[in-house]
Symmetry: C2
Subunit: 729 residues, 2 copies
Amino acid sequence: MTRMASGLLRLSALLLTVAAGCHGAATDIELDVKAQDLHRLDSLNLLVYTFLLTATVLTVWTFKHRRLRFLHETGLAVIYGLIIGAILRQLPSNIKIEQLQVVPQQTFNKSIPPDMLLLNLATDELGNNATQSITSNKTFAYAFRGEITKNSEIDKKATFDPEIFFNIILPPIIFHAGYSLKRKYFFRNLGAILMYALVGTTVSSFVIGTLMYVFVKLLPPEISTAFTFLDTLYFGALISPTDPLTIISIFNDLHVDVNLYALVFGESVLNDAVAIVLSGAIQNYGERYATPGGSSFEVTAFFKALGDFVSIFSLSLLIGASMGCITALLTKFTHVRDFPLLESALFVLMSYSTFLIAEAADLTGVVAVLFCGICQAHYTYNNLSSDSRQRTKQLFELLNFLAENFIFCYIGVSMFTFRKHNFNFILIFSGFFCALLGRAANVYPLSFLLNLGRKPKIPMNFQHMLFFAGLRGAMSFALAIRNTVSVARQSMLTATSLIVIMTVIFQGGAASQLLNWFNIPVGVDEEHEALSHNGVRGVYNSMDTAGSGGEGGFGELDMHRERSPPYNSIQDGSAASLPSTVPAPPTKSNEKALLARIWGNFDSRYMKPLLTHSRPTLLETLPVCCMPIARILTTTQQMTQDDQGHKVDSDSELGMDDDYDRRRGGGGGLRHHQPVSYHQPNLNYTINPCYQPNNGAMDSSTINAATNAATTATNRDEPYVILSLNNRR
Amino acid sequence: MTRMASGLLRLSALLLTVAAGCHGAATDIELDVKAQDLHRLDSLNLLVYTFLLTATVLTVWTFKHRRLRFLHETGLAVIYGLIIGAILRQLPSNIKIEQLQVVPQQTFNKSIPPDMLLLNLATDELGNNATQSITSNKTFAYAFRGEITKNSEIDKKATFDPEIFFNIILPPIIFHAGYSLKRKYFFRNLGAILMYALVGTTVSSFVIGTLMYVFVKLLPPEISTAFTFLDTLYFGALISPTDPLTIISIFNDLHVDVNLYALVFGESVLNDAVAIVLSGAIQNYGERYATPGGSSFEVTAFFKALGDFVSIFSLSLLIGASMGCITALLTKFTHVRDFPLLESALFVLMSYSTFLIAEAADLTGVVAVLFCGICQAHYTYNNLSSDSRQRTKQLFELLNFLAENFIFCYIGVSMFTFRKHNFNFILIFSGFFCALLGRAANVYPLSFLLNLGRKPKIPMNFQHMLFFAGLRGAMSFALAIRNTVSVARQSMLTATSLIVIMTVIFQGGAASQLLNWFNIPVGVDEEHEALSHNGVRGVYNSMDTAGSGGEGGFGELDMHRERSPPYNSIQDGSAASLPSTVPAPPTKSNEKALLARIWGNFDSRYMKPLLTHSRPTLLETLPVCCMPIARILTTTQQMTQDDQGHKVDSDSELGMDDDYDRRRGGGGGLRHHQPVSYHQPNLNYTINPCYQPNNGAMDSSTINAATNAATTATNRDEPYVILSLNNRR
């Protein structure tokens, strides 16, 4: 109504001015109206998605409230998206795009089209003065938009430039994945994760690519000629990465085995990175390196593409890791932590510039951002003030939530509104089939190989679960929609969209049943689980899955974990698992992958002392000749804190410092600088004595007094009380 | 280096493929390279600003660390921006924009240019087949960009589309201003603030407009003819809004009088909204309503423009307020607060959709977002879980910080890189002069008028400070850069940019000296201040300015305040100001503006009970005939909490519930549900017993126990300890 009314108003205003005879102004106003219409259309488009996300949030709340697990928020977002997309498709397009065929005024002799066209409407092709004087003495600029093919329409209905996924939507998702990685279990299963992600994704891509090629060639010639082997291989690369959002959320709810969790999550984080670089390399092989005429395999081109893959992946990794380390150094050696807002801003800016640097250097920003996230969590996080820790965690958790649900809404909506879909049911069916086989080719043979050398073997039911956790998601869709120039690419987009929708809704919905079916133990304490089921120590993080009752998403859990490892076990009524009373089970060196051990050693001896305030300092770990440098790189804070306190940061998650700790004779008694949490059914309290340079130790009487206060509260039957001692400057 | 290397690689790849004779593919690759180059350029542009912001953050930290107050972060951002802008200007532009003059193929007979041009390079104007076959069988699309004038160049060097300010940068800034408004003092000074913002800004616009017109007409004809009265009036509207960021930050640091703070901040928040609508109305008067030929004043057109002003402002306000209230209802009547992540997402989505709805309805999104922010803070905030409160506060604080500093960086950089600056020193000088006079015409006469009817008069030194707090900022710049089609507008942009830069650097830098100069009391407790200086009660919020030592920005302070009104005064060594021991000073009804009282009464009787869980409920305030509705709109939580606890939310900030409270016989004793905070030099602790429906009262022995614990900590000489009891479900 408002629009109509204002449109009428405008029209009358327009008529008035036109009647007044001032054509120039009329054109200006019309242009202005046009621009405002477009702006309004953009706003409406965004509003559709905001509305969809709001509806998703509210419905998800209802589902969580009623403990319904058959549909995850991403599934909901997709379904709502489909509904709205179907409705939008029925609506008439209200903005007509006016097109005009033009020709150059002079002969144009460049190999690429110009960036900008200048149109003066005073003359037409034949040199006649056009009749209308309105637009006569104005020149209008037009910017290059791309090649146009006959059947493609230009329609602005609820679609976005696909590049926004790579530049706006994916970076926060991927950064969050890195930043919230459960690093202890990730590093413990590093070998298996790298195997699945690097080798597995490549194998899966080639298996899917080859199979699809065979399928396609069985089809009628008008379809089969549209596909080259590179096309199907590209499809293999884009459909291989997994997005186990739904699964991970259910794992969290049901407290599933931590190692399975680490495998599923770790693989999915890394295979996104692998897939994006792999698909880029395949594209380069096709477009740049291979001889355009030749259809056979070319060795040089292959190696060039392989070189691209390796160099882009490792350079992006390097940039990400370096920027993470630079941020750690900045936060270690300045006192910016005194101003949490500045500190958080610095953190965000450094992380974002990682993405920009990688993109500006022609590398892959998404990959850089992933490794930046991991480094930020591993090093910088320890230097941050508690305020910034919380703020950055919560910020990226929220961004991740919004970005993820937006992309799933968009997948739903675009099924109906995006004009470049190409439905071919045989192709879609074979896509499904190949995606399944590709996943199997990743999981089972590699698990077999891994089990040959791995001590806690990956049991068969874990392998089945890994197979079924192979949902496809945001990355597959973003890669598919990036390039839709050919019929082959358009069919792939359609197949990918449908695979994403189906796996998210059905595989996601079946996850909790599957866990039951495969006899995977759920609902057990993380610690208990780890000890009994896999023989891996797991004193830490038991709060991680416990107490997650009413909280939302795994990010939330991470927040808990960060606040309260590792003494958190009064929960089960005894102090049995407090390290001070019960020693940790003896370490078996073969429990950990060799890779993980070497890295862990290097990390805790050199990287952590350099980049964080942790002990031992570089003065203790570097050879004598490097003492002057070591002295510069060690802060007073690092020097003055007492030896007991070197585990104040979140290192303990890594789970490999324990060895070092024990070797150095530490680990006994109550480590004063660690946050201490106690849980009782209706009494949660955290004592979080952050270290102070000059007076680091907190007197145990303080803790006792606090404990008394809390106990009093309990005895008085206060419903829920958290009592915390925090360091505040 | 990387770029050069990759460029060379590309070139060789290109040569290879071209040599192979496949022209089509070569064009594709060239286009691809071009697109990648543009993307890289965009990334580099953004990187420049990210770098600038990072540098600003680090320098600001140094300044804060050393307690230097002569330069605020915005001033720094501007200066860094100027430096980088000057450097960028010297660099050669590395991307050449290729332009081509085209003519339509058929006669085109519409009044506005087409949206899209289709270019087929196969033929030139004369119908000859062009020689090159490369681009022969492809059609390229070009999108409309706007009118081009002879002297304007198209250059992508570190500039952005001005619309990003209105769609991306300003909304979070304005929302944050509304969300972090100190509502108690804002509403207390509502009359004065509305006077300064609504009347004052309009007066100032007309004074500046008229003066500028006189100045301009004294200039040589080639300049004076470029300006119409509407142009100068537009300049008046855009230069009138103030942006006292720097001042407010210094006010915070120095704990300046709260009423002065409220006047300065409140005015600046509202006059942004007034200015944007006013400038829109002036533009509409010129473009739509006035007869293009006539230069004299037109009454109809004037009233149409006035109608625009009133309707756009009030409708935007309505949309903003309604969306705020809808969010409040959603958070009140659902239990989404059990899932803080969902709740925060809902909050962000609703706030963003306010902006979009207003824009889609052809209103002003920025104004809508401001009033949405105020409502969110006033109602929704009380329904949020503590997690979401913190998260939303911190999120918008961070966004505001980044957006603000970005815009100031951009002002600096664009002084050198934006091509449409037009330097005319007489104009710039008169702009400065008029801006000063306009500010004076706002502050002094209106203060005189206000003092006629106001009980705590606005003293002269406050008026001087209000005058000097008239820095110009983001809104002025955004309005100025929005439209740079004519010479007049270009000169205005230059004048505005320079006024912003100068006021931010010099007025901002002089602020702490000025406070001293004008004898404005600083460093006093907010409470103390309010009582002694203005005779206004100020039991609340004394923590607001206290304890802000090492924290960053006023948002930070707000967080404190939200957590711990209103018993926070052991600070001065006595329990004297605890309401349980000392009754509040008797209320004088004339202390408050009539407007504020009427609104306050309505708000606490109907709005708050409807939109939040506060007491009294609608069952108590609505007439008997509305009981059924009232029953539906009252939650169990609202009904079951005991009467003492109806002030659990942040209402107390409004400072007018007290009357109601006293009338109802409440207010005595220790109100159990309010957060309780105690301060001692090195002991901060908060006891925050949120209400429970079934067992709301917290036994005082719990508090005593906690107090003992904390006292023990103090006696043990723990450096800083916060001990808090929180409600956690």
